[in-house]
């Protein structure tokens, strides 16, 4: 059953990465404003003029 140590450590690492990500996100103020973000995505984008060129 030694593989379980591999899986446990991998899962812990993934969890740890997420934890760091979470702490960084909180510290960077990602979650300070919970009202604007859901509404912001509904605003039409700043300017959308269709380009004629076909890229």
């Amino acid at each position: 059953m030694s593989v379980i140590y591999l899986l446990l450590s991998l899962s812990l690492i993934v969890a740890l990465v997420f934890l760091i990500l979470f702490l960084v996100a909180v510290r960077n103020g990602q979650y300070e404003d919970l009202d604007a973000p859901p509404v912001r995505i509904l605003f039409p984008s700043a300017k959308t003029k269709e380009t004629q060129s076909e890229k």
Binding site: S2, V3, L10, F18, L21, I41, S45, A46, S53
Partner: protein
């Protein structure tokens, strides 16, 4: 501040949408064909590459990685740019992602029907393709993170967190489950064996569902439902809370696929506990999605897009309620190996992934092609066909699963099994297989209706072009370190760099330390009578893998009275130490085969491969004429054994040197046994083509006759008593 002007890359989204439509139809069509193989087992007309065992992995791979995969790339690439107010990081990476992924799918569509497979579920592709997947996936990740780095919107919307979690976790899962030792370009053996391999596989398999089919689609839900309904999500706070709790809990739930198996109890219970906890974050997401539509249910009535999305979220809610329930040991004892699980995964696939993809397509295509949907009523038709299809598919499968599972467990008062013949339990559920095929047909017809509708919409629309946009750039805090700032403090301000570096460091450290010890330790047999396979049996085992026998036959007898009475004594972990890869299976369309060895004569197996229905009337196993006709390729037997030695199977040099000789000897013995059957002798004694003992079926019989025979009854008692 001066606004910057830039273009959103719509062309790449268009490409992925095309691919989604095409592969969706392909994957579902193969699925429907498989459904009909249950009803007409010989619908493959004796053609090997149309047989169930070979097409089943193609169906699952096509639907998961081709249909859902392309849909997730399309949705992520569309929403990511708009959420971050930035064009995708690199055109090259986007296109590398697209063409690389399509090439992988084509490679899968060629190799799987040819029987080139590792047999590990949803990870069947052979090692060169595995490497390609890793490369393309990393390209996707770099492209996404690059876009995040050069974003013009400092806040990362919740959808992006889901995309990030998807990338990180799938990369880790895929890499660690794909450790294989190559024999040649098209054949490899899993470096893990038996119980270990099973554990890694289901850690992967479960999380593939979690992080390939669930998290990216939750991200898409959080973008496309607000967009389609023009409502902000119900609770942003809830979305954050359920995101973090979901990803923290999900990775621990994998062992629930191995309940009552040879896995240690504590690991099983850990999996169960986390699986039950999962219900909270899962339903948090479902509730958040549904409540977003509060106040606009009238729109749902008129708008097919929202209808699709509502059914998708409802399907998600059903599947994630059912998941924790199926993880409870008492329910799992009934549901595992039965059609219940087939119903469960199809609620997820058809409703959650399928319908969310359809909704997204109906919303995106008119936007990108700058037109209106060709026909709303056709979209509604699709919706009802699809919904009816889901109902007619899943309900019969639930009934079938429960019916069969209870028949398996039914005892007479005298202690014998009521349905001792497995076939009786199959015959009972054939009507359910019919209804499933009808439900699947409806769902597929619906998909064709969509294809037509979308095709008309695309042709009436304008050419898809990149979309101009403008936004102010982010104020840079400061590039590089401040004067006097320590390297680490700088790093702390740079989440992306920080995460990448930590991941790499930790992964390398972990891998270097753990894997070598693991490989050595894992192959110490705990049961002394368990020996490696003979060369012929090894070749037979590779045929068993090639033909996908594991799709329908398990090799795992759980410690229940009903299973021990039917199949023989229950499985021990020590029996599987030379099984690279493990072949426990996850579904019993046919009976378990772990103790089939020596149960029947060699000639019984031969005749059964020739015509299963002649031996077992009503059997739904297909014929395997090609096994009987093809000559066994023994050119790599020695290479295979050497590969096995490299991953810990103790073949001696002598055994390897004598491999071909031993193989021939065992083949001749089986041929001799077969010729005791006069009919076989009459046909095959002076046959054209290779002599009978050189044919593939001989190796297959050798393997089957070996299965489960290493432990004699007396030894078993010693093992049990010594516990």
């Amino acid at each position: 501040m001066e606004k910057e002007h830039f273009n959103y890359d719509n062309i790449i989204v268009k490409k992925f949408l095309h691919a989604t439509l095409i592969w969706g139809i392909v994957g579902m069509t193969i699925g429907l064909f498989l459904a009909f193989l249950f009803l007409y087992p010989d619908l493959n007309f004796g053609i090997s590459w149309l047989s169930f065992g070979r097409l089943r992995p193609l169906h699952t791979n096509a639907v998961i990685f081709a249909f859902v995969g392309n849909a997730l790339f399309a949705g992520v690439y569309y929403s990511l740019q708009r959420l971050l107010k930035a064009r995708l990081y690199s055109n090259f990476l986007s296109n590398f992602n697209f063409w690389g992924w399509q090439l992988i799918i084509v490679a899968a569509a060629i190799t799987l029907p040819l029987g080139i497979t590792t047999s590990k579920e949803y990870a069947e592709l052979e090692w060169p393709i595995d490497i390609a997947i890793a490369l393309v996936w990393v390209a996707f990740g770099i492209n996404m993170i690059g876009t995040i780095v050069k974003r013009r919107q400092r806040h990362l919307y919740v959808a992006i967190w889901f995309y990030l979690a998807t990338f990180v976790t799938v990369a880790v899962l895929h890499i660690f489950n794909s450790f294989e030792y190559p024999v040649n370009l098209l054949k490899s053996y899993s470096v893990y064996a038996g119980v270990q391999d099973a554990l890694v596989q289901w850690w992967y398999g479960h999380n593939a569902v979690a992080f390939f089919l669930t998290t990216p689609f939750l991200g898409l839900m959080y973008y496309f439902i607000p967009k389609a309904s023009d409502r902000p999500i119900y609770s942003y706070r809830l979305s954050i809370v359920h995101f973090w709790s979901l990803i923290f809990i999900y990775i621990w739930a994998g062992p629930h696929h191995l309940l009552y198996s040879a896995l240690p109890d504590w690991a099983q219970n850990l999996g169960v506990a986390f699986s039950v906890m999962l219900i909270a974050p899962s339903w948090g997401g479902m509730i958040n999605g549904l409540l977003t539509l509060r106040g606009v249910w009238d729109k749902v009535r008129n708008e097919p897009i929202l209808k699709f999305m509502v059914v998708a979220i409802t399907g998600y809610g059903m599947a994630t309620l059912e998941g924790p329930l199926l993880s409870l040991k008492n329910i799992n004892a009934i549901a595992h190996f039965s059609d219940w699980v087939i119903a469960h995964v199809h609620v997820g696939a058809l409703a959650w992934n399928g319908f969310l993809t359809f909704g997204m397509i109906y919303w995106l295509v008119p936007k990108l092609w700058k037109t209106k949907l060709h026909s709303v009523s056709l979209a509604n038709t699709h919706f009802w066909l699809g919904t009816l299809g889901i109902v007619l598919y899943t309900i019969p499968m639930y009934i079938s699963g429960v019916t069969q599972a209870f028949m398996w467990k039914q005892f007479n008062p005298d202690g014998s099994l009521v349905y001792g013949n497995f076939l009786e339990t199959v015959a009972q559920i054939i009507p359910m297989y019919w209804m499933r095929a009808i439900g699947g047909s409806l769902y597929l017809i619906g998909a064709f209706v969509m294809l037509y509708n979308i095709y008309k919409t695309m042709s009436q629309g304008a050419t898809v072009t990149d979309e101009e946009a403008s936004a102010a750039p982010l104020l840079r805090l400061k590039k590089g370190r401040f004067a006097g700032e320590k390297y680490h403090s700088w790093l702390e301000r740079k989440p992306v760099q920080f995460i990448l570096i930590t991941t790499v460091v930790i992964l390398i450290g972990g891998a270097v330390q753990i894997i070598p010890t693991l490989l050595v330790k894992s192959n110490v047999p705990t049961i002394s009578s368990v020996k490696p396979y003979t060369p012929l049996e090894l070749e037979g085992r590779d045929l068993y893998i090639r033909e996908g026998c594991v799709s329908c036959h398990s090799q795992m007898i759980r410690p229940f009275r009903s299973e021990v009475a039917r199949y023989g004594t229950f499985s021990k972990g020590g029996e599987y130490v030379y099984d690279h890869p493990f072949l426990w299976g996850s579904k019993r369309t046919g009976p378990d085969l772990l103790r089939v060895g020596k149960k029947y004569l060699d000639s019984w197996h031969f005749n059964h491969f020739h015509d299963p229905q002649a031996i077992s009337p009503g059997s739904i196993m297909p014929r395997y004429p090609w096994l009987i006709q093809n000559e066994l390729d023994t050119s790599e037997t020695v290479a295979k054994m050497r590969a096995m030695v490299a991953i810990g199977v103790p073949y001696t040099d002598e055994e390897i040197d004598n491999a071909n000789h031993d193989l021939l000897k065992q083949s001749l013995q089986i041929e001799q046994n077969l010729f005791e059957d006069q009919q076989i002798e009459a046909v095959f004694k002076n046959t054209q083509g290779p002599p009978l003992h050189k044919r593939e079926v001989i190796a297959m019989i050798a393997y089957l006759q070996r299965l489960g025979t290493d432990i004699s009854q007396t030894q078993l008692e010693t093992i049990n008593n010594s516990k």
